[in-house]
Amino acid sequence: MTSTLILEQTFNGLQAGVTLFLVAAGLTLILGIMDFVFLAHGAQVMIGAYFAAAITAASDNFYLGILLAIPLTFASGYVLEFLVIRHLYRRDHMEQVLATFGLILFFNELIRIGFGPAALYSDLPPSLSGFVEILPDTPYPAYRLGVIGVGFACALAIHLFVSRTRIGAMVRAGANNSEMTAALGVNIRILFRLIFAAGACFAGVAGMLLGPLTAVQPGMGEPLLILSLVVIIIGGIGSVRGAFIAAIIVGLVDTLGRVFLPGLLRLVFDQATADGAGPALASMLVYILMAVVLIFRPTGLFPAKG
C-alpha cells in the first residue's frame, strides 16, 4: 500500500519536474548565454497555453491545437526578441529586471483584453483521459504519463542538439565566453534570437501541456517562474544538463515533501504542531535545498562557465 503510494508520488514528482525543466531550459540559456535577466518567461507559459486552448476550442482537436501552438509560440518569442529584448542587452541587470517585469504586466493585460479575465475552458483529449496501470492496482492518469514522456523527449532532444550539432557547439561556446565566440565569426545576434525563441517555445510547450490540467488564466505562469529560477540556480546558470537534473530534484523534493513531511512530523511532534509546521516547512523545502546547494556549490551543481 505505502510502497505503491510512494511510487505514484514519485511519478507525480517526475511530472512536476519535467514541466519545470521545460520552463527552466530556456531561462537558463537566456540568463547563462545572453547574460539577460528575463522575468517575463512565465508569460511565455501563458501564451503557449492560450494558443493551444484557443485553437483546441476552435478546431475541437487537442493535437492540432498543440501542433499549431508550437510554431506560434516560437514566432512570438522571435518577434518579442526582435522588437523589445535585443534593445535591452546592453542595459544593466536592474534595468532588464524593470523592463521585463513591465512585460509581465503587458502580456497579462494583453491576454485579458483578448480573452477576458475569466479562465478558459480546456479539458483532456478523450484519447488520453484514461488510466495506465503502472503496477497492478496502481492506476495512473495516462495524460500525466504522456507529460512525463514529452518532457523526457524534449530533454533528450535539447541535449542532443546542444552536444551534437554545429549550432549546439556555438551555444556551448556562447555560454562559456560570448565575446570570444563573436570574435570567432559566429553571428551572435541571430544565435541569441534563436535561443530566445526556442526558450519561449519550450516554456510555451509547458503551458500547452499544463492547460488541460490547470486553469488557463492570466498570470498562470508566474508561480512556475519562481520555481524555475530556483532550478537554474541549483543546476548552474547556463547549463541545460544542470537544469534537467535540478528540475527533477526540485519536482521530487517539492512533491514528496508536501505529501509525506506532515506525516513524518506527526511521528515526532504532537498533532497540532505537526499540522501547523508541516505545510509551512514543506513549502520551504526547495528554498532550503537551494540555500544548501549555494553553501557548498556557489555556482550550482553543473556550472556552465569554466
Binding site: 495524460y143 490540467l213 490547470t214 486553469a215 492570466p218 508541516g278 505545510p279 513549502s283
Partner: protein
C-alpha cells in the same frame, strides 16, 4: 469736508453692497448644492491578477444596480469610484486612506479578501465613514474587533462551511477528508465545518495558497479512500482542483462536497466536470424573489453568463446603500447606520435581517450543480440547511 464725508459714506455703501451680494451668491450656491446633493461611494475590489474575474463580476453587478436605480441612490445623485486593491493589503490601505481623506466618499464598500478587510477596516471606520463589506467575513470583525460603522452584506466566514457540516451530519456521513489552502480563511472554514460535523475526520490537509496542481494530494487521498471529501478551494484553485479530481477518477473513490469552490466564476471553465457536485451558499441564481429574478435575468442579458455569489453580494451592497439613504433621507453616517442596523434590507436574498454585530442573519442552502434549460451549467437550490442562521461570534461584539 462734506465731499470727503460723502466719499466715505459712498465707500461704506459700496462695501455693504458687495458683502450683501457675496452672501446672496453664497446662500444661492448653498441651496443649489443641497438641491443636487451627490452621494459618493468608494468601491474596492480586485480588478487585476488571477482574481480579476471576481472583481470584474462585482463591478458589473454594481453598475447594474446603479442602472436599475436610474443612477441615483436613495434619490440622490450617485457617484461610484472603483479602486483596485490588487489583492494586496498594503495597497488596499493606501487606497482606503485616499478614498476617505482626499475623495471624501460617504461610504466605502466591496472587498473580497479577509486579509484586505483586516487592513482597511480601522482607517475607514475610525474616520466616521460607513464600510459595507461585499464578501469577506473574518471572525475578529464579527466578534471582539467589531465596529459599529462596519456592515457585512455577505456572511461570516464560518457560516457556509457550518451549513456544509450540518448537511453532511444530517445525511449520515460517517467520515470526511478535509482539504483547504494553508491560510487563515482556510483554517476558519474547516473549524466552522467541524463545529457541526461530528463524524470521523479521516484526514485534514492544508495545501499551498494559489496551488495549481493537486495531483500529489489527490494520490494520497486515493490511498486513504475516505467515504467523503470536503474542500474549500476558492477561485482558480477550485477550477484546478475539480478538474484534477475528475481526471483522476476519484468519483469512484470518494464523494466530493465543497464550499466556495464551484460557482459562476469557475463553472464556465469547468462545464460538465462540475455536474452533481454539492455545496452550500446563502445565495443561488434560482432563488425565487423579484429582486433576484430581475438581477439574474438582466446580468445574463448584459454579460452573457450567470452572475456569481460575489456579483449578487455586490449588487446587494448597492441596494443596501440605496435603502439606507432612501429611508433616512440623508447620507449622514449616523442616520444611515441606524437604518441598516434595523435590517429588513431588500436584497437578492429577500429581506435581509441584521444581527447585533452588523452581520446578516440569513438562510443557507444546499446547492447542486446542474444544467439549465439552455444547457448552461449552473447551481440550483436543493434544500434549506439553516433558516435564519446567525454567526457564533456576535456575543463577543460590543460597540
Amino acid at each position: 469736508m462734506l465731499e470727503i464725508n460723502w466719499g466715505v459714506k459712498m465707500k461704506k455703501i459700496m462695501v455693504a453692497a458687495v458683502v450683501l451680494a457675496a452672501i446672496g451668491v453664497g446662500v444661492y450656491l448653498l441651496i443649489n448644492e443641497q438641491k443636487k446633493e451627490v452621494v459618493r461611494v468608494g468601491y474596492m475590489t480586485t480588478l487585476s491578477g488571477g482574481a480579476g474575474i471576481i472583481g470584474k463580476q462585482m463591478q458589473n453587478a454594481v453598475q447594474l444596480a446603479l442602472e436599475h436605480k436610474g443612477g441615483r441612490l436613495g434619490g440622490m445623485e450617485a457617484e461610484v469610484i472603483f479602486v483596485d486593491d490588487q489583492r494586496k493589503p498594503d495597497v488596499a490601505k493606501q487606497l482606503a486612506n485616499r478614498l476617505v481623506k482626499s475623495d471624501r466618499v460617504d461610504v466605502v464598500a466591496g472587498i473580497i479578501w479577509s486579509n484586505v478587510l483586516m487592513a482597511v477596516i480601522k482607517p475607514i471606520t475610525r474616520s466616521d465613514t460607513l464600510l459595507i463589506g461585499s464578501n469577506a467575513g473574518p471572525s475578529p470583525i464579527a466578534g471582539e474587533q467589531c465596529h459599529e460603522n462596519f456592515f457585512s452584506m455577505s456572511w461570516q466566514n464560518d457560516q457556509t462551511p457550518e451549513a456544509m457540516g450540518k448537511h453532511m451530519q444530517d445525511a449520515g456521513v460517517k467520515s470526511v477528508y478535509l482539504m483547504a489552502p494553508n491560510y487563515q480563511a482556510g483554517k476558519d472554514m474547516l473549524s466552522g465545518f467541524k463545529r457541526y460535523f461530528k463524524g470521523e475526520i479521516a484526514g485534514e490537509v492544508y495545501t499551498k495558497l494559489g496551488q495549481s496542481d493537486f495531483q500529489a494530494e489527490l494520490s494520497s487521498l486515493r490511498a486513504a479512500a475516505p467515504e467523503t471529501t470536503m474542500v474549500f478551494q476558492p477561485g482558480g484553485m477550485g477550477i484546478n482542483f475539480v478538474k484534477q479530481w475528475k481526471q483522476s477518477g476519484l468519483d469512484q473513490v470518494s464523494k466530493l462536497y465543497q464550499v466556495f469552490s464551484v460557482d459562476a466564476v469557475s463553472l464556465p471553465a469547468l462545464k460538465d466536470a462540475a455536474l452533481g457536485i454539492l455545496g452550500t451558499q446563502s445565495w443561488s441564481p434560482d432563488l425565487d424573489n423579484d429582486i433576484n429574478r430581475k438581477f439574474v435575468a438582466d446580468y445574463k442579458a448584459k454579460h452573457g453568463g450567470y452572475p456569481s455569489y460575489y456579483a449578487a453580494q455586490a449588487y446587494d451592497t448597492i441596494l443596501a446603500i440605496d435603502h439606507a439613504i432612501a429611508t433616512s433621507g440623508s447620507k449622514d453616517t449616523d442616520q444611515m447606520r441606524a437604518v441598516l442596523a434595523k435590517g429588513n434590507i431588500p436584497t437578492t436574498r429577500g429581506l435581509l435581517k441584521m444581527n447585533s454585530n452588523h452581520f446578516p442573519v440569513q438562510n443557507f442552502y444546499l446547492r447542486d450543480t446542474v444544467k439549465d434549460a439552455d444547457g448552461v451549467v449552473t447551481t440550483k437550490v436543493l434544500s434549506t440547511v439553516f433558516a435564519d442562521h446567525a454567526d457564533s461570534y456576535a456575543a463577543n461584539c460590543k460597540f
